[in-house]
Amino acid sequence: MFNVATGGRRRRAFCTMAVCVAVITKENYPLYISNVPAANELKFHYTVHTSLDVVEEKLSAVGKTTSDLRELYLGLLYPTEDYKVYPLMCETHPPSTPPPPPIPIFVGDGMVFRSCPRAHAFESRYGYVANTKVKFVIVIDSSNTSFRDNEIRSMFRKLHTAYTDVMCNPFYTPGDPIQSKTFDDVISSMMQVC
């Protein structure tokens, strides 16, 4: 059961792919989120949102022990993400009342259960928290590939640098969603091949 968290370190020189990169403010709302299969955006919103729980937990645990020399990299947050959050139109029910407008409702269902074991686990979420409590979450597509911790670290470092550049822009108001072509380029480079 717990081997994914610790194991899975088979050394293979494959490339790591990020499927989703998110930048989250101190107040826990997203500044930037980008994902590769652009269609299933909401899923990644949920994925990143729920992983904030772990980030906060890790942060609070760290805060108790060491004072300021904190490791920015939080490591693996969740080994896998396991929900297929697919849209289900409520109109499938024959409405008794006059039909309301089609508001899509997303229903979580079809979890990857244990009977279909770890082969289906293909995403890992990694966290990184800057000193300003700005959080970075990267979801890695790890199917059939293994990756080194160092690669993830370097990705985060790259992301942090790009974020710092954005913040250096005098025309950027802190707290606004990031709309920067340069930043986009960095992210898309991370999304493809490292």
Binding site: P79, H93, I103
Partner: protein, 1135 residues
């Protein structure tokens, strides 16, 4: 084993399971009442033992789970209680039958059973069964409790005996193999004699004994047994049972560490409690604190310290508990059939870890629980997600909790369900809101800076709206949709904005008029959402009344000019300035008037990508009564700042505060309070309403001005007019004042102010008859009053301002001053053309026609009446009159020429007609002068010299002006246009230069010339005879303030041939007796110097006697030293 029990906790391992079932026709409420009574008995004790066992009651337990009773003893149903209600013996028989059936269902493992029958009281029931109790009615339940206590004690006794049976079994004895249902067929035909098999039997039995010990409250024995079981089972790789033994070990340790957390609270209700229980309870009161096993010493359950130490040794540390649980669960995971066991173990472990505050480990266990596949029904699926959510909540992962709660909500309305539970879905969704940082009852919190994750918040709100709608509560869905639109506006795309607002409009149409507080559930009441972003109000400003309606505080004792009282001794202090600034920001310096329409200006902004219709927009006020007049407006898409004026009428005088505004957008009424609008700039919102005032209107006979005047020059002007005059003309204007208000006008005052932007060049005067005005008031509403104003134009009659002043200065000294020194003449050679008798200056030609002169005057009408007058307020009406003045005649040149008499003087005026009309110029002492258009003419007028003295009081400038006015009065110049009869005055007051005035003044050095006994001023003819001495006395009086002199004086006779030639060589014609010249010494102020001589003419003729005078110091102007020339007629005969 198919149905997992999600409510289990680790402590349940030490409980005896009792199933309570209803039988017969017992009502649900009665049963639950009885069940509660029964379940209040939580502990069973033995009379002679300090130990206690816990009882767990369940209403439903699947009998097949009973088969796992060997595996984990707490899963076995050991007691059965039936609660029945019978109305007759026949029914009773049926109940007995079904009770027996129930007993059979739970098998032989039942320790004891009991049935309570209600309803059969009065009848004598044959008591042939010991296991049935007849309880009279539902009121007498105390006896029931006692019976249940007896029953549980009996369970404990059976348990104790079983435990002792098992414990007494020796290792060598043949032991039965305990196994779980799915194992049974695996062990068929196995060699029962093998060592492995024996060990398996032993290990499993040890584990079972451990369970029994745990249930019987013997923690130490349980721990020991579990340890042995673990050792034994590990050696033979019996993983399922090893896992169970490990779990048992964990459970025993948990109980040892934390006591029975969930049960102690309930135990309070129990009536009878032993000393041991009390001790236990006091120990478990500190359940939240992580207790170090070592510190558990004297206060433990057992009195035996050695037992205590032994337990501490066998007991697992908190960290070990996690590890062992982890191991156990990983062993369970090897068996698919044990999925439920694994799932329950995970949940139990999470509960323990939550207690230990090991959140991330707990999250790992929960994560695993999610993976475990169990075939469940739909209801159980919902329950499963709910429990997961609850557990996440417990470990502080509120986002995860919200996620699973939402999934659980979605399960309620799955497409597969025949009857979707929208109500349940809605309730569950409501629970998720906290996790997504949404607070329905406090929408304002989201206006400042956004909290939470917009994308997921948006989703959950959509779902909430939809489920509320499907639930059949449109008011709620309208509320939620409004909330969504309000708080998520910034995150909606244009298309979404459109859709949401259309939906909202449709929903709102279906449920009209909800604006009250909605109660979603008891703890959650929501206020109606104020759509303060549709439209966004950027600023709110109270507008002063238009100038003619503004109330003006009448002048009273306490001036408004000193708003700061002498609270501070400092003239300047930054604190005071700050306070003043704040004060100024908070108070409005104008008032509104009762009964008059008052305005508030809002700058609004429509953030929507479509036209926004705002209906019923009006003001919300506090303070005095205010009638708001709502407006409807339509804001274009993505409008910029758009000014909107909201109006209302204050009904009562007093302070009024604009608290906010109300709108209706998409059919949703909202009340937006200013205090909740941080982005709205409000200067100040409180204004004073003064009592009602009359209202008048002013009209004039003059044409309106086309608006050339800048209105700011003289304050607020509500009415304007223009009048055109010739310079010097006076015109009468009719002004009508009409009372158009509801109050009588009781007092009217007129005041006029001028705009002196043209400097000193002249003004226009406006006069009116005050007496006549006073006769006309009071004015009743609707009445009309006529006033006559006379406007007089009095501008500069000089040609131009600048250039003329200079030339005048030069001119005035030069011409007509025969005593000017030659030196001065040399320095001003260009003065030549100004000599007397010369032509008018040519420079007039190049100046061209003079432009219009414009004067702005404002006539202020202060009037008051009605209640406002008593409160000390008045209204002001202002009429701005633009007076355009055309030049009439101008005086191009003005020269003073001394007359023959030293008391008089001639003024030579060059006058030009600048009009297009023929004009007649009249003056008092002279003939009329006719001037054709643009003609220059010269006229002369004789004036008395001015006897003003230089030592007079007042400024020299004022003096000059007074002298100039006096000159004008003497002249009395008037012009008359012959063609149309318009006439006016012409004043030289501004044309007369100081130098000219100087000449017009009487000199302060007073000369008295006496010739032959005749005082000569000028023009006198002195007659004398030939050879007769003519006495000449010249007396000089110094009227100045300074010493004068010394002077040189010389008498010189000459002949004037009247052709420009003079013969001064008269030494043989006239002789002097005495000196003809004299040196006058310095004369002190008010001193007198006298000169005497006599002149003797030797021939007859007309002689002139020139008194030449030289000022040695040059301190006086030449005109002061001008002495008359004496005309002497010498006749042949001596007179």
């Amino acid at each position: 084993m198919t149905e997992p029990d999600y409510t289990q906790s680790a402590e349940d391992h030490q409980c005896l399971l009792v199933v309570v079932k209803p039988l017969g026709s017992i009502s649900k409420s009665n049963f639950s009442c009885v069940f509660n009574k029964i379940s209040s008995v939580e502990q069973a004790t033995l009379q002679d033992s300090h130990r206690a066992t816990w009882i767990r009651y369940k209403q439903y337990y699947p009998p097949e789970n009973n088969d796992w009773g060997d595996f984990q003893a707490h899963r076995r149903v050991v007691g059965l209680i039936a609660v029945a209600e019978a109305r007759g013996t026949q029914e009773l028989a049926l109940i007995f039958e079904s009770f027996d059936g129930l007993r059979g269902e739970y098998g032989t493992c039942l320790y004891n059973w009991r049935m309570f029958v209600f309803g059969l009281t009065g009848e004598v029931v044959e008591q042939n069964r010991t296991d049935v109790d007849f309880v009279g009615d539902y009121e007498r339940l105390d006896g029931l409790t006692r019976t249940v206590e007896e029953f549980t004690s009996s369970l404990f006794i059976v348990l104790e005996s079983k435990r002792l049976d098992r414990a007494s079994e020796k290792a060598g004895d043949k032991m039965p193999l305990l196994c779980v249902p799915f194992e049974k067929k695996d062990f068929v035909g196995l060699d029962t004699d093998s060592r492995n098999y024996r060990k398996r039997c032993q290990g499993r039995m040890r584990k079972h004994v451990g369970d029994l010990n745990l249930q019987a409250g013997l923690l130490h024995e349980a721990l020991v047994n579990y340890h042995i079981a673990v050792e034994t089972l590990r050696s033979i790789n019996d993983f399922l049972w090893l896992a169970a033994a490990l779990e048992g070990l964990c459970v025993a340790s948990v109980v040892s560490h934390y006591g029975t957390t969930c049960m102690t609270t309930k135990a309070r209700h129990q009536g009878a409690s032993t000393q041991a229980e009390r001790e236990q309870r006091s120990r478990t009161g500190t359940q939240e604190v992580l207790i170090d096993p070592g510190s558990l010493t004297t206060n433990g359950i057992g009195g035996d310290p050695s037992l205590e130490i032994g337990r501490a040794k066998n007991c697992l540390s908190p960290d070990d508990i996690v590890e062992k649980y982890r191991e156990a669960i990983s062993f369970y995971a090897k068996y698919r059939q044990a999925a439920v066991i694994e799932l329950e173990a995970c949940i139990k472990a999470v509960r323990v870890l939550a207690l230990q505050k090991k959140r991330s480990e707990a999250a790992d266990f929960l994560q695993n629980a999610i993976y475990i596949h169990v075939d469940v029904t739909e209801d159980e699926r919902i329950q499963r997600y709910s429990v997961l959510s609850e557990l996440y909540e417990r470990i502080g992962f509120r986002r995860k909790a919200a996620f699973f709660k939402r999934i659980s909500a979605m399960q309620c309305v799955r497409a597969a369900l025949p009857e979707p539970g929208w109500k349940a879905c809605y309730e569950l969704l409501l629970d998720t809101l906290q996790g997504y940082n949404i607070s329905l009852d406090n929408p304002q919190s989201s206006t400042e800076s956004h909290h939470g994750w917009p994308a997921v918040q948006l989703r959950i709100l959509h779902e909430l709206v939809y489920s509320a709608q499907r639930m059949g509560n449109p008011a709620l869905s309208v509320h939620h949709l409004t909330f969504l639109l309000h708080s998520m506006l910034d995150f909606l795309s244009e298309q979404e904005k459109k859709e949401v607002s259309q939906t909202l409009e449709r929903y709102a149409a279906s449920c009209r008029g909800h604006s009250t507080t909605l109660e979603i559930r008891e703890s959650l009441k929501v206020q109606p959402i104020a759509l303060s972003k549709l439209p966004i109000v950027r600023s709110m400003k109270l507008i002063n009344l238009p100038p003619n309606l503004r109330p003006v505080k009448l002048k009273s004792g306490d001036g408004l000019s000193t708003p700061i009282s002498s609270s501070s001794p400092f003239i300047y202090s930054p604190i005071v300035v700050q306070q003043r600034r704040e004060q100024r920001a908070n108070q409005i310096d104008f008032q509104w008037v009762q009964g008059d329409v008052c305005e508030v200006q809002l700058m609004v902004y429509n953030p929507m990508p479509f036209e926004l219709r705002v209906e019923n927009m009006g003001l919300l006020t506090s303070g005095v009564e205010f009638e708001s007049l709502p407006a409807a407006l339509s804001l274009p898409a993505e409008s910029g700042l758009y000014p909107v004026t909201l109006v209302g009428v204050p009904k009562i005088p007093g302070p009024i505060t604009i608290a906010g505004y109300h709108t209706e957008v998409f059919g949703i009424p909202s009340r937006c309070m200013l205090q909740n609008l941080p982005h709205c700039k409000v200067m100040c919102s409180t204004v004073e309403v003064v009592p009602a005032l009359p209202l008048t209107q002013l009209t004039t006979s003059l044409p309106r001005c086309s608006g050339l005047i800048a209105p700011s020059t003289l304050g607020d002007v509500c009415c304007n007019a223009v009048v055109r005059l010739f310079n010097g003309e006076t015109q009468e204007v009719s002004v009508q004042l009409e009372n158009i208000g509801k109050q009588p006008v009781e007092s009217v005052e007129l005041e006029v102010t001028y705009n002196h932007q043209q400097g000193d060049s002249g003004t226009c005067g406006m006069t009116w008859d005050t007496q006549e005005l006073q006769k006309l008031i009071p004015m009743q509403p609707g009445s009309l009053v006529d006033l006559t104003l006379s406007i007089h134009a009095n501008f500069d009659f000089s040609n131009t301002d600048g250039s003329l002043a200079d030339t005048q200065d030069e001119m005035s000294t030069a011409p007509g001053t025969p005593f000017s020194s030659p030196a001065r003449r040399v320095t001003r050679p260009h003065k030549e053309y100004h000599t007397p008798g010369g032509t008018p200056p040519e420079q007039n030609g190049r100046l061209g026609p003079s432009p219009l002169k414009i004067q702005e005057a404002v006539l202020l009408v202060h009037y008051t009446g009605g209640p406002g007058a008593t409160a000390g307020y008045s209204r002001r009406l202002s009429l701005s009159i633009l007076i355009e003045v055309e030049p009439s005649v101008v005086f191009t040149n003005l020269t003073a020429v001394p007359a023959t008499s030293s008391q008089r003087c001639h003024l030579v005026i060059d006058v030009q007609n600048q009009m297009e009309h023929e004009v007649q110029l009249q003056s008092i002492h002279n003939d009329d002068l006719l001037l054709r258009p643009h003609e220059n003419k010269r006229m002369a007028a004789q004036l008395h010299r001015l006897n003003g003295s230089t030592d007079g009081t007042g400024s020299p400038r004022g003096l000059q002006r007074a002298e100039a006015e006096a000159v004008c009065r003497q002249l009395g110049l008037r012009w008359l246009i012959l063609s149309n009869g318009r006439k006016g005055e012409a004043s030289v007051a501004r044309v007369v230069s100081p130098a000219v005035l100087e000449q017009l003044r009487l000199a302060p050095l007073q000369w008295d010339v006496e010739v032959g006994g005749l005082t000569c001023i000028g023009e006198e003819l002195v007659s004398t005879g030939v050879g007769k001495p003519l006495a000449v006395t010249i007396r000089l009086t110094n009227g100045t303030a300074v010493p004068a002199g010394p002077f040189c004086l010389e008498l010189r006779p000459f002949l004037d041939f009247h052709n420009g030639l003079q013969d001064c060589a008269l030494k043989s014609v006239a002789v002097f007796l005495g000196s003809n010249s004299s040196h006058l010494p310095q004369i002190q102020p008010a001193g007198v110097a006298t000169f005497h001589c006599s002149c003797l003419f030797l021939f007859p003729g007309d002689f002139l006697l020139d008194i030449q005078f030289q000022d040695g110091t040059g301190q006086f102007p030449a005109s002061w030293l001008c002495l008359p020339t004496v005309h002497v007629h010498v006749s042949e005969q001596p007179a």
